[in-house]
């Protein structure tokens, strides 16, 4: 027996970053919005309070803020010929749960993509010729340009209070910033954080090899700040508990700090928690959604009719919802036809460790999620790929995110795994090891995709999402190339410090076991036409004009940057189109 509720203007599925932004923007325009969140409500006070929030075992190791796999997980295989098996415990990626989603436990590393990323296929073929893109890579243009998104990047950075130094202000290269960034219309709203020892060592060494280091743009606040929604933020005190934790200091941008205070209590908005949306109800003939069906906290099935449905769930959940709802054509890797589940991408991570003399102290616990310096000399199209055999790239960064010792106790690779020698090495290297991150792009490949699993189900009895993924040869070459550069910088750092450099290269098949990143992207991609993409340039479904999809699932490939800056910019870009155009005249905003 399904309970049918009165219709609302807009229903949002998921209340993380994009749900919060859409709710704020659309209620400001007077629309009645219901936000459905499958987790619990939570706020900075009392849910993220110290000292109990600073519990590495509970939150970082036991994943206290993450989605419980017993409720829902994905199945995984490297290739179609394998049988996908469930990810029984979280590892490679950590999707969030509850109000605020992964926007609560992120680090705050906030980047813009390059101009070329949004027109990647056109750009690469024009610059290098058609042969540059390896057989099997399904690189596409996104349908939107950087210039169109720029005002929305700017606004999202101001909503978050990002600290940084512009490197390219309206086309003028600025000292101290990233000379390879796309032109920005304005400075960052706040200055960078102070730079710790690891970042300073990296900065000097990177400059020595001819690269262009700068402080990473950070959503850890560098000073008190009031954002455009009127929300107050406080300075970060570098406690070293960002990633996998909520911030008690109102100092890390999150939906709770930057948006919800200006949203909750508005008469146009209703938040419903413990409501798990199981499908979007779809009228195939009219090519319209009629609303969403969800299971509430008491286990009751409820139908919420809505004029507009916006999927704001974590990336791969959006693809699963479209597949469960029968909206759009599922991607078929055999024919290349269909688009739902296509171009699932990830992030190609590698790293370099520099083990230094004991007099060099990193003090790794004096950290913050985005505290550090980076270079983009070998990211995206900042360098010439002619003759290299791959496209894409990555940034190299020295972050000091926190020295929590269950997970952070670096030792050289030839150290025994336990016993006295291990213990001595842990003591010796804890405070004098510098880690360089190689944060590489992930290019879409025709064999990497998402569909529904034929065997395994979630706790409500619905099919799990099946993930088929391995790193394409292009990305392995890219990762080796950038890791070589990181190793070279590592050697410059190590030389005067009696140090030793070890690279963790991208080797072997993709595994769901070790943590890499929670940058799962693609699956409901935007594009220029309905044959190749799920969404048009306004993130509107080609197959249902009153369904929009937000988040990193819309990325046609994943560049060598963290996704949240672009997730926010795209959400604000789509919100503008919905508010100023679609709601006045509901229709497809792009003719197929």
């Amino acid at each position: 027996m399904t309970t049918r509720l009165p219709e609302v203007d807009v229903v949002l599925v998921g209340m993380g970053w994009t749900g919060a932004l859409l709710a704020k923007e659309l209620t400001d325009a007077g629309h009645r919005v219901v936000g459905l969140e499958r987790g619990h409500p939570r706020q900075t006070v009392p849910d993220f309070q110290s000292p109990t929030m600073h519990d590495e075992l509970r939150y970082a190791v036991r994943h206290g803020l993450m989605l419980d796999p017993a409720t829902e997980t994905v199945t995984f295989r490297n290739y179609q010929a394998e049988v996908a098996l469930p990810v029984r415990q979280l590892g490679s990626f950590l999707p969030g749960n509850h109000l605020g989603g992964a926007g609560v436990h992120w680090n705050g590393q906030t980047w813009r993509f390059q101009e070329s990323d949004f027109v990647l296929k056109s750009h690469l073929e024009q610059r290098y010729g058609r042969g540059i893109i390896q057989e099997g890579l399904t690189i596409q243009d996104w349908g939107v340009t950087y210039a169109e998104l720029e005002p929305h990047y700017d606004r999202f950075e101001k909503i978050c209070g990002i600290g940084g130094k512009a490197g390219n202000l309206r086309g003028q290269i600025q000292p101290g910033g990233d000379p390879f960034e796309a032109p920005r219309s304005d400075e960052f709203p706040n200055p960078p954080m102070p730079q710790p020892n690891a970042a300073a060592l990296f900065t000097r060494a990177a400059a020595e090899v001819g690269a262009h280091p700068f402080p990473v743009p950070t959503a850890n606040l560098s000073r008190p700040y009031r954002n455009p929604y009127g929300c107050e933020m406080q300075p970060c005190n570098a406690c070293g508990f960002c990633e996998r934790f909520g911030c008690e200091h109102f100092a890390k941008a999150s939906p709770q700090v930057c948006v919800l205070p200006a949203l909750m209590g508005k008469p146009e908005f209703e938040l419903r928690t413990l409501c798990t949306v199981t499908r979007v109800e779809y009228d195939r003939t009219a090519k319209r959604a009629t609303g969403v069906t969800y299971i509430d906290g008491m286990g009751r099935e409820v139908f919420q009719p809505a004029g507009l449905v916006i999927l704001c769930a974590f990336a791969y959940h959006n693809a699963r919802l479209l597949l469960l709802s029968g909206i759009g054509q599922p991607y078929d890797p055999a024919t290349g036809e269909g688009s739902v589940g296509k171009n699932y991408t990830y992030q190609t991570m590698a790293g370099v460790s520099v083990f230094m003399d004991e007099g060099t102290r990193i003090n790794p616990y004096m950290g913050a999620g985005a505290l550090g310096a980076a270079i983009n000399d070998w990211n995206g199209e900042a360098f010439d790929h002619g003759g290299l055999g791959f496209v894409g790239g990555g940034y190299i960064a020295a972050y000091t995110t926190g020295g929590r010792p269950i997970e952070h106790h670096p030792v050289p690779g030839d150290t025994p795994r336990w016993g006295s020698a291990w213990k001595q090495a842990v003591k010796r290297h804890y405070n004098s090891t510098l880690s360089l991150s190689v944060h590489g792009s992930s290019m879409p490949h025709r064999g990497n995709y998402l569909d529904l699993d034929p065997t395994y189900r979630d706790s409500l009895g619905n099919p799990l999402l099946r993930m088929t993924f391995d790193f394409p040869a292009n990305d392995r070459l890219m990762a080796d190339f950038v890791t070589d550069k990181a190793e070279e910088i590592g050697r410059v750092i190590a030389a005067p410090r009696n140090g030793r450099v070890e690279a963790s290269r991208r080797r072997g098949r993709y595994s769901v076991v070790p943590y890499q990143t929670t940058h799962n992207t693609g699956g409901t991609i935007m594009g220029t036409n309905p044959r190749d993409s799920v969404l048009n340039r306004y993130l509107q479904c080609w197959d249902a004009h009153n369904v929009f999809v937000m988040g990193a699932s819309t990325f046609a490939h994943n560049p060598g940057y963290n996704p949240t800056g672009t997730v926010g910019a795209l959400a604000l870009w789509a919100a503008r189109a919905i508010r100023d155009d679609y709601m006045r005249d509901p229709r497809p905003l792009v003719q197929a």
Binding site: V83, G91, N107, A238, G351, N363, H409, G419, S511
Partner: protein, 246 residues
């Protein structure tokens, strides 16, 4: 999130349906080696998950994984056995964050853990096998072997050379190792890292602090005595009234 740790093995599983007869064993505390006033002797631990024999066996094994040495105490002094006992008796032990639906089948290494064990059922299955295998091959209980032979046994678990019928010995070893490291370095509120022995080893000052004024002081020697969550809470309580009047 970005710090890659491509080498760290995924934390694995363990344990069972408790039912252990509570046996009171005095916790083995030793004064720590750093010259502060000795801590008050901890209250005796009532084992919730392990039997007395099992506690003696796994304690000996943990002490080989993180041994005491002349400079600093090891796993037993840090309360790691008591930590793991509590973990196995609680929600971690019951597999609260595991997808446990079948069918179960063997997968590739890249597909990760695919067995039906919870942490508690794994320990429950592996502990008798560990005890029996050691006695059969070495003639005595693990805890009665000398350290060299204990290390040899543990290496045979680690490599899987010791074959247990009930559960993979290497899975048990990896779980024990991961849990031991957790118990050595986690906040003392969870029962391990007693007297912050683990944190003092590496110089981690504890979880509750703000360093923003110190970030720019490179190579700063920072030797503050660590504080845990419990001390921070006590200080909060102490300051609660004045702070409310600000």
């Amino acid at each position: 999130m970005s710090t890659p740790d491509l080498s760290r093995r995924g934390l694995l599983i363990a344990g069972g349906t408790a039912a252990a007869t509570p046996v009171v064993v005095p916790a083995q505390a030793q004064p720590h080696a750093h010259g502060q006033a000795p801590a008050a002797p901890p209250a005796p631990h009532v084992w919730e998950f392990f039997t007395g024999d099992e506690a003696a066996m796994v304690s000996a094994a943990m002490e080989r994984l993180i041994p005491a040495d002349p400079e600093s105490p090891g796993a037993i002094a840090a309360g790691v056995p008591e930590f793991i006992d509590r973990q196995l008796a609680g929600s971690y032990g019951t597999g609260s964050r595991l997808y446990r639906q079948g069918p179960f089948r063997e997968g590739t290494a890249e597909q990760g853990y695919q067995l039906p064990f919870t942490p508690a059922t794994l320990y429950r299955a592996a502990l008798p096998a560990f005890a029996g295998w050691t006695r059969q091959n070495y003639g005595r209980a693990f805890q009665d072997l000398d350290q060299r032979l204990q290390d040899e046994v543990l290496r045979k678990l680690e490599t899987g050379e010791a074959v247990f019928e009930a559960a993979p010995s290497s899975l048990f070893f990896e779980t024990l190792l991961a849990n031991t490291i957790e118990g050595f370095f986690s906040d003392p509120i969870h029962g391990g890292n007693r007297d912050m022995i683990g944190w003092k080893l590496v110089g981690f000052p504890g979880p509750y602090a703000g360093y923003v004024e110190l970030v720019g002081r490179h190579n700063l020697r920072f030797d503050r005595t660590p504080r845990g969550i419990a001390q921070a809470m006590a200080e909060h309580a102490h300051h609660a009234a004045p702070m409310n009047h600000r």
